[in-house]
């Protein structure tokens, strides 16, 4: 139930005829061992989403290669599950049906799947909203629905693009714990994009720091914490040290966001 991801010399350039092309990623190398929880941090616009979409098989590479378990990625794969940066819910489905969409696409929805989805929604604090439609939810609630949809699929490779960006501190913490618990139980290879350094450190075994565009890997940091994470971990000195180390990348230059 876990996948190994290999990224070699990846380059992704967006071209629009008559316009200057944008190189989002260039010469990016990264190996993700099976079952790892890996986070990616980097300045806005550095190519994190692009990297994620390349691993998900949703982009054509302009250079290099991405492999999963040794196979070249040529398109989306069944064992991969992506949660996008925007919730991307379908307005004609209610919350529960949105969550069950992946199941529906893979065959008949068993009652047990429905129970499972309902449970996930309840854990995400969305009890009583199962029959509401997306436009009736707040931004953060929509994001949680999207996360529930992703977690319900039991993937062996889980790709999460800023899943907690619209959540308050407490809900976010709770969801962090839930995500960790799920990862600890099933250990899918997980790639998490986040802007919260502490979240990255708290959840991951390794944290990738990316450079501003064109995105490359600046450093891969092994988090020196036990695999089992609980709230008290954050009080540990290693936690604070790792956070500070990563944060240093973001304060080094004066203003080096984007170009």
């Amino acid at each position: 139930m876990t996948s190994r991801v290999g990224i070699k010399d990846l380059e992704i350039t967006f071209t629009r005829s008559g316009e200057q092309p944008t190189t989002a990623l260039s010469g990016l190398d990264l190996d993700i061992e099976a079952g790892t929880f890996l986070s990616i941090v980097g300045p806005s616009g550095c190519g994190k989403t692009t990297l994620l979409r390349a691993v998900a098989g949703l982009l054509e590479l302009t250079g290099g290669s991405v492999t999963i378990d040794g196979d070249q990625v040529a398109g989306p794969r069944r064992e991969t599950c992506v949660m996008f940066q925007s919730p991307t819910l379908l307005p004609w489905l209610n919350v529960l049906d949105n969550c069950l969409l992946p199941k529906k696409l893979r065959g008949r929805v068993q009652p047990v799947a429905e129970e499972r989805a309902t449970e996930l929604l309840v854990r995400a604090g969305l009890k009583g909203f199962e029959k509401k439609y997306p436009y009736e939810l707040s931004g953060g609630m929509q994001q949680r629905v999207a996360l529930c949809r992703a977690l319900g699929t039991d993937p062996s490779l889980l790709l999460l693009d800023e899943p907690f960006g619209a959540l308050d501190a407490m809900t976010r913490e709770q969801m962090n714990l839930d995500l960790h618990e799920m990862w600890a139980r099933q250990s899918p290879t997980t790639v998490l994009i986040t802007h919260s350094i502490s979240e990255a450190v708290f959840l991951s075994q390794r944290v990738v720091v990316m450079s501003p565009r064109p995105g490359r890997v600046l450093e891969i940091i092994d988090v020196p914490l036990p695999d089992k994470r609980e709230a008290p971990v954050m009080a540990e000195e290693a936690f604070a040290r790792t956070c500070a180390h990563i944060r240093s990348y973001f304060t080094k230059g004066e203003r080096n966001v984007d170009g």
Partner: protein, 249 residues
Amino acid sequence: MRAFLPLYVLVGVLAAWQWLPEELGVPDFIFPKFSLVVEKFTSVETLRLLLSNSWTTLFEAFLGLVLGAASGILAGFLLAESDVLRRAFYPYLIALQSLPKVAVAPLFVIWFGFGLAPKVLIVALLCFFPLLVNTMSGVMGVDANRLDLFRSLCASRLQVWRRLLLPTSLPSIFAGLEVAVVFSLLGAIVGEFVSADSGLGVVLQQQQNNYDTAGVFAVLLILCALGVALNQSVAWLRRRVLFWQTANK
């Protein structure tokens, strides 16, 4: 006050229809005033005639609409799906549409006989195109993120079609249907003009023959009423089906 506007307009239109022709000295057989047209609906015999012929026309229109709309939607999805198919077949479909129905109707009668078939086919031909184009346009407007979602879930083409493209293009398809449902009546009448033994088109021609302009207007009135009724049924259906579009307004 503003809520009563529809009523005022109705009264205004009818009043103008009643008084204007007389004021302008237009003879009855050129533009009959409203009361003369209404009179047409007072005779049981005429009513029975109109009813049974309306039924024929409606039936032809309905069959043709179903045939044309279904194939239009299907073709719309197929052509939106594949660039190659579109380039290979779309021009022929447009060409087919560009054939004037009044000119091909006689050919249809010759090829397909005197029964229901040629009328239904003309209606279908007329209804096909709005649905083809609107389906294609609706599919084109699909949100790229949603498409990525489905791709990432490894959805089959059929699933993408059924669960994403169909709902996405429904607003556009309904717009096409609203147009097609009205055109279906026009198609049926064109068909009946060429060859028919019953239907409103036949009645219309008979009344023209008899210089019964009030009768012509009565039939036109029925056609208008049918058109409005059909169109409003589609609009009603749209509001039901597209609840997510109307609800967040």
